[in-house]
């Protein structure tokens, strides 16, 4: 993948490269409810971070702040060297570089799979249509559904739709990928195909933040696991540190619930 070699070269040139994503004392409230409390998180280029935590812990809100689907109210968020603020140009620049995959896929139902994948490259990146289509087919091959290119999303299974959603995000050639519980809406037999796609993506060296409960996936690909609870980052470390040697009662309780569930 040419993009990753480029970024690898770029990061090699700058040894103390700035982090791809930096959250500095980020706070957010929904009305009076304090949903993010002093979040500090730094993600290096090429790093794979898994965020876990009980529902309502603010993990989705946090990654949605990174491309400003939610607005934070205090603190700084710097993505790819650009600070998120009220300047729309900064926001546009960041959204071009950050891909996102949603829990409920959010494919455009009135467009074919191929059109879903080419729309943003054509209109945002100004890629010529033919080139955008070739590139989309390449990514669809990579997520193993090129034969569905001319179907509508409603004709695909959930797992296939989520893989299209991943391909759609990749077609923008983002530097960073955000996954917001990508397998939570899927039937068990389809979870694996989506996780396999994400593992493949991780192997290309993509910077990734995944909100997920899939501990197997975290063990396999994460450089770091972040545990959040009640709007705070409670613990963070390598998968084995977090899963095998939890320090806090909150994490212990969460892990025991997860394990019981499986």
């Amino acid at each position: 993948m040419s993009v990753t070699t480029e970024t690898a070269v770029a990061s090699a040139a700058r040894t103390d490269a700035p982090p791809a994503i930096l959250l500095d004392k980020v706070n957010k409230w929904y009305g009076a409810m304090h949903v993010l409390r002093d979040i500090n998180l730094s993600v290096a280029e090429g790093e794979r971070v898994v965020v876990c935590g009980p529902s309502g812990s603010g993990k989705s809100t946090m990654i949605r702040c990174i491309n400003r689907l939610e607005q934070h109210q205090e603190g700084r968020i710097i993505v790819d060297g650009i600070e998120l603020n009220d300047d729309m140009r900064n926001l546009d620049a960041i959204r071009r570089e950050v891909g996102m995959v949603f829990q409920s896929f959010n494919l455009f139902p009135h467009l074919t799979v191929l059109e879903n994948c080419t729309l943003a490259p054509i209109w945002v990146r100004r890629t010529p249509k033919k080139e955008a289509e070739e590139q989309a087919m390449e990514y669809l091959r990579r997520v193993k559904i090129p034969e569905q290119a001319l179907k509508y999303p409603g004709q695909l299974s959930g797992g296939q739709q989520q893989r299209v959603a991943i391909a759609r995000a990749l077609c923008m050639k983002p530097k960073i990928m955000l996954f917001d519980e990508p397998t939570s809406a899927l039937d068990p037999e389809m979870i694996k195909e989506v996780l396999d796609t994400m593992v493949m993506l991780a192997d290309t060296g993509m910077t990734m933040i995944c909100v997920t409960h899939e501990m197997g996936f975290a063990q396999q690909v994460a450089d770091r696991v972040v545990f959040m609870d009640r709007g705070e980052v409670v613990e963070s470390g390598t998968p084995s540190q977090v899963f095998n040697d939890p320090k806090t009662d909150r994490l212990k309780m969460f892990l025991s619930q997860i394990l019981r569930g499986h």
Binding site: M100, N106, P109, H110
Partner: protein, 380 residues
């Protein structure tokens, strides 16, 4: 029906699938289930069938068998004694035979009637071309501009040997088509903008759109037309005059747009937030998101109420009669003012009604086809 018929037979490779018995599907089964399922149902069916038959026989007698299709015309005008002698037992279609040109073209100079007639066909051609999806591209806007220009040229004339005809003398069907075509063509885009504006995050724009919709919706179309025709000119500077038809047209556009805006807004609200978020996350700008993602989905959802409003609007153009514009219905009413034809209103209204029906029914059928065609992505 017995329980067994409700379950589809399991078709295995060994047993060839058979047609179901005649008592299960087809017209016989339908009649049994819908019309004669019980004694009460049978009685109601028979009673209504009797009334329907009587009414149809009466109507056929009136409209065809006893009808008079033409009357002699001499120097004193049409001789309608034969029609009057019927005393309502038969239709006097002679009024249509005599007056159809007046109903269709109003007070437009008689020798120039071919001009509005060509315009009517141009309008119909324009509708047909616009209805075909293979013509849905940028050039269609040019075709519209060209055809509408041509229609204006034909109606006014004043060149190429066509005498000039002032707008006050235009009338009939062509006025109805002008008002409703321009009405829909301008009201619809305006409505989309207002609907988007009402959901805008900018308070000034939102406020403006809310006030517009509530204000216009709060008054009857008739009072808007009155304002356009009587009040508006009072505030214009001395000597300046805007065409009466144009003023009525603007009133109709503003009125229809307020209603359409609410229909469109309903479609916008039906979309899930995920669609907006996915478009945002891909970096699409507001207008790209709106044009490629939001509107195509929202408008498909509201095709039925949209067409409903269009049809209502087509018929509402007849209200311009109160400010003295000669649309189809007004021309029809005026046709029977002449003493010889007084009392033959029913025939004229039936005739005018059939014309309205043809246009409205075409719209309705077209929208059903459009809904099926555009919502194929929802079919698995």
């Amino acid at each position: 029906m017995s329980d067994a018929t409700l379950h589809a037979p399991a078709v295995s490779a060994d047993t060839p699938s058979r047609r179901p018995p005649i008592t299960v599907v087809g017209p016989v089964a339908w009649a049994r289930a819908s019309l004669f399922s019980s004694w009460l149902s049978t009685a109601v069916t028979l009673a209504l069938a009797y009334l329907l038959a009587r009414w149809i026989i009466g109507f056929v007698d009136w409209a065809f068998i006893n009808a008079i299709w033409s009357v002699p015309v001499n120097a004193q005008g049409a001789q309608t004694q034969a029609c009057r002698a019927l005393q309502g037992a038969g239709a006097c279609w002679a009024v249509i035979t005599e007056k159809h040109r007046f109903i269709l073209f109003g007070t437009y100079p008689y020798d120039e009637h071919w001009r509005p007639l060509v315009c009517v066909f141009l309008f119909i051609g324009l509708y047909i071309v616009s209805a075909m999806r293979r013509f849905w591209r940028k050039e269609l806007a040019l075709i519209w501009a060209g055809v509408l220009f041509l229609i204006g040229f034909l109606m006014w004339g004043g060149a190429l040997g066509m005498p000039y005809v002032p707008q006050e003398r235009w009338g009939g069907l062509v006025i109805t088509l002008i008002l409703s075509t321009f009405g829909i063509a301008f009201a619809f885009p305006l409505a989309v903008l207002v609907a988007l504006g009402r959901r805008s995050r900018m308070p000034a724009i939102k406020m403006l759109c809310v006030v517009y919709v509530e204000l216009i919706r709060g008054v009857p179309l008739i009072s808007l037309l009155f304002m356009a025709s009587v009040m508006f000119p009072l505030f214009l500077p001395e000597g300046m005059n805007i065409d009466k038809l144009l003023r009525a047209q603007v009133a109709i556009i503003l009125f229809a747009a307020a209603y359409l805006a609410e229909v469109v807004r309903g479609g916008l609200q039906a979309l899930s937030r995920g669609q907006y978020e996915a478009a945002d996350a891909l970096g699409l700008s507001y207008w790209q998101k709106t044009l490629f993602i939001i509107l195509p989905q929202a408008l498909r959802l509201v095709i039925p109420p949209l067409v409903n409003t269009f049809i209502g609007m087509f018929k509402d153009t007849s209200l311009v009669l109160i400010i003295g514009i000669f649309d189809l219905l007004t021309a029809g009413k005026t046709a029977i003012v002449e003493p010889a034809w007084q009392g033959f209103g029913i025939e004229v209204y039936v005739f005018v009604g059939i014309i309205y029906f043809i246009f409205c029914f075409a719209m309705s059928r077209y929208s059903q086809g459009l809904e099926r065609g555009l919502n194929q992505h929802r079919v698995r």
